[in-house]
């Protein structure tokens, strides 16, 4: 066969494109779990949360999270009628040991009133990594140590991480920390070691009220599809355009 320069120049790009498709079609190693069949996220049903801290304790136990650092935590909001956009937010030790009780009879605030009706409202907001579709944290990593897995979970390759903490700064939700002993970035993996084996996350397993629910958006039978249609659901900081995937049901406007 006689190939002149003109033909070769035409064929080379075509061959390169073909080779790319050959590589992409290489089957994955794990036969039981196909990453491309899933798109993981979580639903948090705020009216159900009682602030018991079970999720925070379960997460710490499951993932050996060091004391004082959190992959998930619970915030208690107190919004008064006088200051709707400036909530008082507390999270003692991430809500790990629950929250101090608010007396039902008093509930007064700054001398405005002592009747519980006018003392404003309280609610709990559990927080965790939002496993963003366009996550700022993965974009700033200088070495490719953090990434969005093909199933939508944002993970950290701790053997590759330098511990430069760019990602800690980049996360608008404060979901990352530098592990005090390993000196590398650590964060919620959405219990990747559990969800890939067909289990739910440790926080969802330990949640007594069903506030937290693991969601697989690519599963057509997941109840999330009906839920999203019939409820008022928001994500945190939508203005950041991060494509956050942790859905909050009936979230108050004061939540930041």
């Amino acid at each position: 066969m006689n190939i002149d320069r003109r033909h070769l120049l035409v064929m080379l790009p075509a061959a390169a494109i073909a080779w790319k498709y050959v590589l992409a079609g290489t089957p994955e190693e794990s036969p039981n779990y196909t990453m491309t069949d899933h798109w993981w996220s979580m639903l948090i049903n705020i009216p159900k949360c009682i602030g018991c801290g079970n999720c925070v304790r379960a997460c710490a136990a499951e993932n050996d999270v060091p004391d004082g650092h959190f992959r998930t935590w619970v915030e208690r909001y107190h919004v008064t009628d006088w200051n709707l956009s400036n909530p008082e937010v507390v999270s003692p030790d991430g809500g790990k040991e629950g929250f101090p009780a608010v007396p039902k009879s008093v509930g007064g605030d700054e001398g405005f009133s002592s009747s519980p009706e006018s003392a404003g409202k309280y609610f709990f907001v559990p927080k965790l990594c939002n496993h963003c579709e366009d996550s700022p944290c993965t974009q700033v990593c200088p070495v490719g140590a953090t990434f969005i897995a093909p199933d939508g979970v944002v993970l950290v390759d701790q053997t590759y991480c330098l511990g430069c903490a760019y990602c800690v700064q980049a996360c608008p939700y404060g979901c990352r920390y530098i592990h005090p002993e390993k000196k590398v970035a650590d964060k919620c993996t959405l219990c990747y070691h559990r969800i890939t084996k067909g289990l739910t996350t440790a926080c969802c397993e330990a949640c007594p009220t069903g506030t937290r629910q693991l969601v697989d958006l690519k599963d057509p039978n997941d109840p999330i599809h009906t839920f999203l249609k019939t409820h008022s659901v928001q994500v945190l900081k939508p203005q950041m355009a991060t494509g956050a995937k942790v859905f909050y049901n009936e979230m108050d406007g004061s939540v930041r």
């Binding site: 190693e29 794990s30 779990y33 990453m35 009216p47 159900k48 949360c49 009682i50 602030g51 018991c52 801290g53 079970n54 379960a58 136990a61 499951e62 993932n63 208690r76 107190h78 629950g98 929250f99 009780a101 608010v102 007396p103 039902k104 509930g107 519980p116 003392a119 309280y122 609610f123 709990f124 490719g144 140590a145 953090t146 990434f147 969005i148 897995a149 093909p150 993970l155 390759d157 053997t159 590759y160 993996t189 990747y192 070691h193 559990r194 890939t196 084996k197 289990l199 739910t200 440790a202 397993e205 330990a206 949640c207 007594p208 009220t209 069903g210």
Partner: protein
């Protein structure tokens, strides 16, 4: 074909360039991890490594394979959807090796984690003042934790 006399230095330079490129490729081969770029700009093997981390919570499905009676009892009451390890703590070790016996939980402590009175909790959630309600008497004296009565 003879090489023009004045072009020899160019060939020496070209050879040096090729050697440097080969050295670069060899170093790159050893420095860049094997699975880097498998799915994107990261080490593909990291995904399987993270998926292989050990579990501490067994999951209520596993508990119920042995503790069938408790699973049935729970279905009768309000704690139906509360999974075992929500109160009993992580027990994957016990599930893997039943000879490892978990310590009995202190109901007085565990029950009030959820059921202690607080104006911050949703009003529909059943709450009690632990002091007024029982005065320190263990909850299971009157209540059945597994069927939530």
């Amino acid at each position: 074909m003879s090489i023009p006399k004045d072009a020899r230095h160019l060939f020496r330079f070209a050879i040096l360039f090729v050697i440097a490129f080969v050295v670069f490729l060899v170093i790159r081969h050893f420095v860049v991890p094997k699975t880097f770029g498998e799915y994107g700009h990261y080490r593909g093997a990291a995904i399987t490594e993270i998926a292989a981390r050990p579990m501490h919570f067994a999951g209520h499905q596993k508990c119920e394979t042995c503790h069938v009676d408790i699973g049935e009892a729970k279905k009768a009451g309000k704690h139906e959807n509360v999974s075992c390890e929500a109160c009993h703590g992580p027990l994957a070790q016990h599930a893997d090796d039943p000879s490892i016996q978990p310590t009995k939980i202190n109901t007085t402590e565990v029950c009030i984690r959820c059921h202690a009175d607080s104006a911050a909790k949703p009003g529909v959630f059943p709450q009690i003042d632990p002091v007024q309600h029982s005065g320190g008497v263990p909850c299971e004296t009157c209540h059945q934790p597994h069927n939530g009565l």
